[in-house]
Structures are given as C-alpha cells and as structure tokens.
Symmetry: C2
Subunit: 293 residues, 2 copies
C-alpha cells in the first residue's frame, strides 16, 4: 500500500486557491519525474519524513517548519504550508486507519532551466522496527569530517538543511554495517557528538537528558524536540549543549531517535557493551506512538 | 535538441549481449523516473559529464574509468563499460554533427528496495561559454569544511567519487554569485587549494604548471589530465602537489578547467584583479576543442 501525490508548488503567500486541484495522485510504480530533475541530477532539494501512525500524521507542524527552514537555507522558493498540509491530509485519508507508514515530502529545485520547483509526497509502509525498539542497536562513531562550528563559518555547506544530498549518510551506514554495527553516531573533526545519519542523539547522565546544541551543524530533530517536551512535562531535566565524544562513554544511557523508527537504545558502542535501559526505551516509544501534533 | 536514453545496466562481466537492446530512447520532457529513485531521494548515485564536440565524445575512456571508480567508492555495481560506450555512441549518432553538447551519464542505486541500479544518458546543447573562455572569470575562495586529508581518514565521506549529492556545490556557486564573482575555488579547512564545484584548478608559476594532488579529497579532473598530457607533450613542466591557499596569489596565472566549459582564466581573485593570460587560454581551448580520446 503506497500513495504518491505530485504537487504543483504554490507561492508561500498564495491564498484562496482550490488547493485540492494543485495535487494529483499517480501510481507509485509509474515514471513521474523527468531526467532533467535537479533532485536527481544534483541532490538539489529538501525533504522531510513524517510517521503516519494509525491514521495520524505525527508532528506535522514541526516537520513543515523544518521543511520551510531547509528551503530558506537552500534558497528554494518558500513552500506554501497550507498547501502541503492539505496534501498531507489527502495522503493520510488514502492510507489505512491502522499501521505505521513513512510519508516522505520532497521539494526539488525542479527541472534544470525550468521555471518552478517540483514537489511530491510518497507514503509507504514503515519497516518493522519492533526488534530494534525492544532490543536496541549497536553503534560505532564515525568522523563527519567537519568541525562542529563549520556551519556558522560556511553556510554554503547547508549543514542545517535536510537536503536530498544524502550519499554520505548512506555510505556511513554501510561502513557501520561493515564494522558489524547497526548504526552510527557522527563525530565532528574536533571531537564533538553530532547526530546519526538519519537520527538525533540523546544522552542521559543520572537524571539529566542532553542532546547536542543545534548550532547549525546538525539538524534540529523533530522527534528529539517532541521527546524533550514530554520529558519536561513529566518533570525531567533536559539540556542542549556541546557534547564531547568522551561523554558518550560516561553516559548512563544513549538513544537514537527519529520519526519512523522512533527511539532505539544503544546496547553497544564502538565494540564495547553499553548499559541499555529497556524499560525507559519502552516508555519513550509508548509516548512516541501516541498522536502528536 | 536533446537526446535521452534509459539504460538497463548489465553486470560488468556480461559479454555477447545484444547491447543495443539494453537501452532505449525516451522523450526528454516525458516522465522517466519513479519517485522511489534513490538518486532523487538521497542523491545516491554517480555521474559524469562528457563534452560532445562536433560529433565527437571527448575523453570517453577517462570519463568511463572515473565513472567506474566512483561506483566502486560508492559500492554500486561496477558498470559495464562496453555497454556505456555503446550507449554513448548511440547518443552521439543521434546528435547533430556540429556544435557543442553536454552528455550526462547517471548511474543511480535504483529504486528503493528495488533489485537493480538504474541508469540513463541525457545530452543537451552546451551553454554558450565563448565569453568566459575569451574573457575569463572572477573567483572567490570558499571553505569546503574538510581537512585536505579527510578522504583518507573517512572514506565514507565519498570525497573522491563524483556523486549526485551536489547540493553544497550548487550552494557554493550561489554564494560566489552573491559576492559578485562568477565561480569559486574550494579551500580545505587547513588551508589547501582543492577544486571548483564543477572544475579542476591549474596554477602556473613561471613555466611550471601545478594542480592539487588527487589525494582522494578532490576529483581527478579528466580535462586537467588531458591538458597536462598536452603540456608535457609540448615540452612544458607539470606537477601534482599539495598547494597552500597563499600560493594562489603568487601564481602568474590560474585556470579552472572542466569538460564542457573547458579552460577559463581567472581575472579576479577574492576581489583583487589577477593577471590573465588571454593568449595561453586561447591556445588551451584550441587544444581542448580538438577530438580527444
């Protein structure tokens, strides 16, 4: 069960349009994009992946805010969030009322020399993540090559944008698998914890939860923010700060959190066993599976 | 006049196939790719751009060698170069016998969860580069964020592969334009000259031509190699070495060289006028426009 909608992107300030006439469903296995697409030629576009859980699109507002922020960083036309929201509603309406789906939003710079960006939404069943959610993942740290202040000095590196140029992220996952691990945590060239290729990193020392400060070198994680809100509401202490790589090994627990896989605990770090809190991880995922705005 | 061929990639060791039956022409303005394409979702694939000059594909061998090398670095199935060469021949046969065209070769990891890579060739008329070839370009240096030995320490950064994840390269060109320049030269975070976003850098100090050593952090430029061969054959001295950014300002001439724009001289560097050798640039392009294998 997949759903694909092609969108004709409206200007951000467009009002009163018949929004439903600006998107149309296409078969998932039919060609929909031209070879001149800059998304495919140069990874030149931005995206979001939203979980659709039992008929509810999770954290739509934060995802759309980040889509807009990514577009601004990449100097793409600002997306019309009303239009995207209407298209998300349409996709959700076409999906089953039960089960977990991954809904990808893509905003591309369009066809080369073309007049306008192109955009689409594509929903497909989420992989079965019950095992990593329950049993955790083994992780290796890998050098991301950038200093942790690179984004401030060189905004053209687009580090704070969720761009389609993800070949390095995929290569880092292959390297992790080659080393016998399930996933990786990127470390800056000057020794700070950054993020996973497709996740945010949360540490717990005692009763304090921390995550790397979103300085621009990493993405501000929608799931991490949601979980931090939940922790604060239930009386726990959270903080954003620069985290040295050495602090990973002194943590009482580490999680990778992301929109679709949700929270997975780290059970092994760079080849050494790591304390894993199955009960707290279960509670995190119980929260993350509830409808969230 | 554009030509698009979709290719069904053969294994590298396949022989005896009817190669012509493994590719087919499609209209350039018709959808040809699915939204599940990993090239478009994650910039996950590799490419080459070949100049077709008056009916001759330039430097086909070096481009195909580099396509194969990029595929190896990205752990893509090794391309069948006989098949690609046959497809290039087909495209060239469909193009006019005169004029300059850009022929892009793309090898994508394929559709997500799909069984095989996807591939295509797309030829379109080259932009008119007569002005920059004759009059040169203004250039600013921009920090690439990586140390010049990053590739050796972190091969998952894929720095030596020509991947489709080019969003940063495009953003750097926009930054150059914002600063009033035509192009940019990337500098490593530790102060070494690297390459342009779509070109190689050649310096001349006196009668010695130099280019950054292809240590893995930069692409080994096909046009740069061809020009160095030509220089050596005509009695000039060339060398590969690590080049400090300070050496740019002491050079007697600097060129950016690439497959389609060919050689353009630097006339302005970081806002200051720079010596420009119009006659030598003209001679370079005269050579580069001759048929080359």
């Amino acid at each position: 069960m997949t759903v694909t909608l092609l969108l004709e992107p409206l200007p951000a300030d467009a009002r009163d349009e018949d929004l439903a006439s600006t998107f149309r469903q296409v078969p998932a296995d039919a060609p929909a994009l031209r070879v001149g697409e800059l998304s495919t030629q140069r990874g030149d576009g931005v995206f979001e992946t939203i979980a659709v859980t039992d008929g509810h699109a999770q954290e739509t507002g934060p995802h759309l805010d980040r889509l807009r922020n990514s577009a601004v960083i990449c100097e793409l036309p600002e997306p019309n969030l009303r239009q995207w929201r209407a298209a998300i509603d349409r996709v959700v309406g076409l999906l089953p009322a039960e089960g977990e789906f991954a809904l990808k939003l893509v905003l591309s710079r369009g066809v080369e020399h073309g007049p306008a960006p192109t955009a689409w939404l594509h929903a497909s069943p989420a992989a079965d993540f019950s095992t990593p959610r329950a049993q955790g993942v083994s992780v290796v740290t890998l050098d991301r090559g950038y200093a942790h202040d690179a984004a401030a000095k060189a905004p053209w590196l687009l580090l704070g944008a969720k761009t389609l140029s993800y070949a390095t992220n995929m290569a880092a996952l292959r390297e992790a698998h080659r080393r016998g691990a399930d996933d990786t945590i990127f470390v800056s060239s000057d020794g700070f914890v950054m993020e996973g290729p497709t996740s945010s990193v949360i540490l717990r020392h005692g009763d304090l939860y921390s995550t790397p400060a979103p300085s621009g070198a990493i993405l501000h994680g929608t799931t991490q923010m949601s979980l931090f809100d939940h922790l604060a509401e239930t009386g726990r202490r959270t903080e954003y700060r620069d985290i040295r790589v050495e602090e990973l090994s002194t943590a009482d627990a580490i999680w990778l959190v992301s929109s679709v896989r949700l929270a997975v605990g780290v059970t092994e770090l760079d080849g050494a066993a790591f304390p894993y809190d199955a009960e707290e991880t279960r509670a995190f995922n119980e929260y993350l599976l509830t409808p969230r705005e």
